[in-house]
Amino acid sequence: MKKFSSLLHNLILTPSRNTKIKLLQDYFKTLDINRAYALAILSDQLSFQFIKASKLRELVYEQVDQHLFDYSYDYVGDLAETISLIWPTNKEGKSQNLSTLIENINKIKKSEINTEFSKVLSGLSNNERWTLIKICTGGLRIGVSERLVKTALADLYNKSVNEIEEIWHGLEFPYENLFQWLRNETSKPKIDFKKLFHPMMLANPIDEEKDFKRLNASEFQAEFKWDGIRVQLMVSSKSVSLYSRTGDNISSAFPEIVENTKGDAVIDGELLVGRNFKPSGFNDLQQRLNRKKVSKDLQEKFPVFIRAYDILFYKGKDLRKLFLYERRKYLEKFQKENKTNQIDLSLIIKFKTWKELTKYKNNVHDDLNEGVMIKLKNSEYLPGRKKGYWYKWKKNPKLVDAILMYAQRGHGKRSSYYSDFTFGVWKENELVPIGKAYSGYTDKELLVLDKFIRNNTTNKFGPVREVKKEIILEVAFDDVFPSSRHKSGVAMRFPRIHRIRWDKPTNEVLSIEEFKKEFKIG
């Protein structure tokens, strides 16, 4: 555990990619079970069933005064680090192997979690405790992507990272077949691709200035970009499953899809809510998300369908090496053969020049698409976010000026900075908050805002600071919906700070009525 926790410690503090790769490789060179655990942890595949963030909070409150913990957490901005530092006993027990430690934790009975896991935490050094809590909460955020881990492994054994990528989702702990193949002791692991989630092909945002000069419009096709969730549909005579972008099986939340699709294919598309293939907006879709089971009533109210735009397999045949325009023919064929109310096809927009495409992108009449996708007709289906093949071109965001009201310290790389901002518009002589944003600003703007907040705090509510109502933020957002949960009656989708309006006096900011009128909210 000592060795693994110092690996994580060094990874988080090293800015250099090469050094990170070297650190990872040094660790992976060890030939025991610990590296399998390390690989599982670094790729976010290991977790403890009973120990999540809320349980950890419960345990730390048994040890230290809740207020003192809250003050500290607010300051540090990272749960694992706060708990590891504030944990009262610092007696280092006998250092255990990473594997032994994890196996021992897995043996703890649910009824004894509180006492037993607290004992484990007390027996570790600060850094080990930090590591263990990071494992529990998942999402290490140490500046190491899954891709980097695979790259380190591939380089260490002279393999290509794409080879690892291809079989990745079919591998399981303790990855014996992977390591044997890497060491050239066996051939590449055989994976049943039919049952496997295939990593998706992702798009890069287009750079209007550079890319349109460089790229030839005739080599590309365009489609509308829909504001739903990306899914992979795997359908065969035996089963139908639906996966999210990250490879989670979400079939049970969408029974109508599972029941009504037929054929034998792997389809890539967007899951949307709507009737007769007319999408009704992300707000409606949200009613169907993050549910394990779904009632008949919800299915009636918010029916879902898939807008398909690509096909990876057709009747067992791997199409990923074909070009997009060739795959499209297979997709159309599949759809014709298996007509259902659950799948339609993404429309291909006809255009000759980039300028012509602009009007489709900005298409103000249809609020439901969020721009266009631009795809190279001759593109294979490549996993990950490869440059030069698929682009997304988003509509210009909506903008509103609002007054900074409250601020809170951020988390992760923005910890300690006042970087979460709540802003509002007028309601008669008072301000009413309309949203909260913690991105979009430049590093310089963040420093200015942070300083303003520290020097102009008028009130504190726990970690939240109320500030003098002087700063106007131009807020960009994708959309806004009516909401009964918020005092203002509106909820913004993806608000971010566009810029600071030093030039504008606060009395020129809209009232909530004007705001609703401008953005057509009833």
Partner: protein, 329 residues
């Protein structure tokens, strides 16, 4: 305790403690720039603090100086002042003010732990304690500085082709890091940023063991391979640091407790070496002082005020102008 206000000003006799703006009479706890300023009429401080002020601001930085030994009483009207060691840096002092049998102590910046570069902290019993709270959160539990300095020494041994640049405040911390290295038998010449030179010379003159040091000069890049260089934190991000071969950026500071902080500042090797008390030392000092009235100055005062109130002590924060959190030496 009503005789002193939240700006540490005693109106009755026109005396300030650590004032930010030029004043008639100023008692200075130590030489850091957020406490010792230029332009007072009369400065009362330890001899070493006065020396340090003269080095930093020139001989004429005040019209009149009164040096006090630790424990020596100095009276103005019915107020008696005594300085006691604060263990923060060379010359640092706490101020005991006695008036009509009421004892008030202003700790200034202080640390309880051992330090060879200055006189160690002396606990002074009192009725009212005005304490600092730089590290006033229970997450701050400073490790043994020897272990931290060993991390640096180990890294120097392993990474022979790199040089190590250690960010440390020019006054106090830099010399403490040098002294800690000497305590651990690191006997090589230590290279320093030009801005540290005069203060290092002064520490040597005061017989503090900081060993052999030399100002960084425009030598061949490879010369600094395997060497330790000490520089003020501001120089770490400066062009200055790019002249060195594969530098490993280190920082000696209590803030380095928090990994995310170290990461934000681009620190690769954080060394948790602090000249301030940690949480337990703050609590311990409050308890042992027997003071019933606790006032808390700059730092993370919220948590400490909360703690004191829970102990049935009268407590409130003092917000002293010019000392916002996290910018202090």
């Amino acid at each position: 305790m009503d005789f002193i206000n939240h700006q540490l000003f005693i109106k009755d006799i026109n005396v300030h403690i650590d004032p930010i703006l030029p004043k008639k009479t100023a008692i200075i706890t130590h030489g850091h720039a957020d406490h010792a300023r230029f332009g007072h009429d009369h400065v009362i401080a330890t001899r070493q603090t006065i020396d340090i002020m003269k080095i930093r601001y020139g001989d004429k930085c005040a019209k009149k100086f009164t040096p006090l030994r630790y424990g020596q009483k100095y009276s103005i009207k019915n107020y008696d002042f005594t300085l006691y060691p604060a263990g923060h840096i060379l010359g640092s002092a706490q101020v005991l003010i006695e008036k009509n049998n009421h004892r008030l102590v202003i700790t200034g910046d202080y640390k309880v732990g051992k330090d060879e570069t200055c006189k160690n902290f002396k606990l002074v019993k009192c009725d009212t304690l005005i304490t600092e709270a730089t590290f006033g959160l229970p997450i701050f539990q400073h490790p043994d500085p020897k272990d931290e300095i060993q991390k640096l020494i180990r890294s120097v041994k392993i990474n022979k082709n790199n040089c190590h640049i250690v960010g440390a405040y020019a006054l106090g911390k830099a010399q403490r890091v040098m002294n800690l290295l000497r305590q651990q038998n690191y006997n090589e010449t230590i290279y320093i940023h030009g801005s540290l030179e005069k203060l290092c010379q002064y520490y040597s003159k005061e017989k503090i063991n900081i060993g052999k040091f030399e100002k960084v000069s425009s030598k061949d890049k490879s010369f600094y391979q395997g060497k330790i260089i000490i520089a003020p934190p501001s120089a770490l991000k400066d062009r200055w640091s790019r002249r060195f071969p594969n530098p490993i950026i280190c920082m000696a500071s209590g803030w380095m407790t928090v990994k995310q902080r170290a990461k934000q500042q681009g620190i690769e090797l954080p060394l948790v070496i602090s000249d301030h008390s940690d949480w337990n030392e703050l609590l311990d000092t409050i308890k042992k002082s027997k003071a019933k009235n606790i006032l808390i100055t700059h730092g993370q005062e919220d948590a400490l005020v909360y703690y004191c109130k829970k102990q049935n002590l009268v407590s409130k924060p003092l917000s002293i102008q010019g000392r916002s959190d996290e910018e202090i030496e």
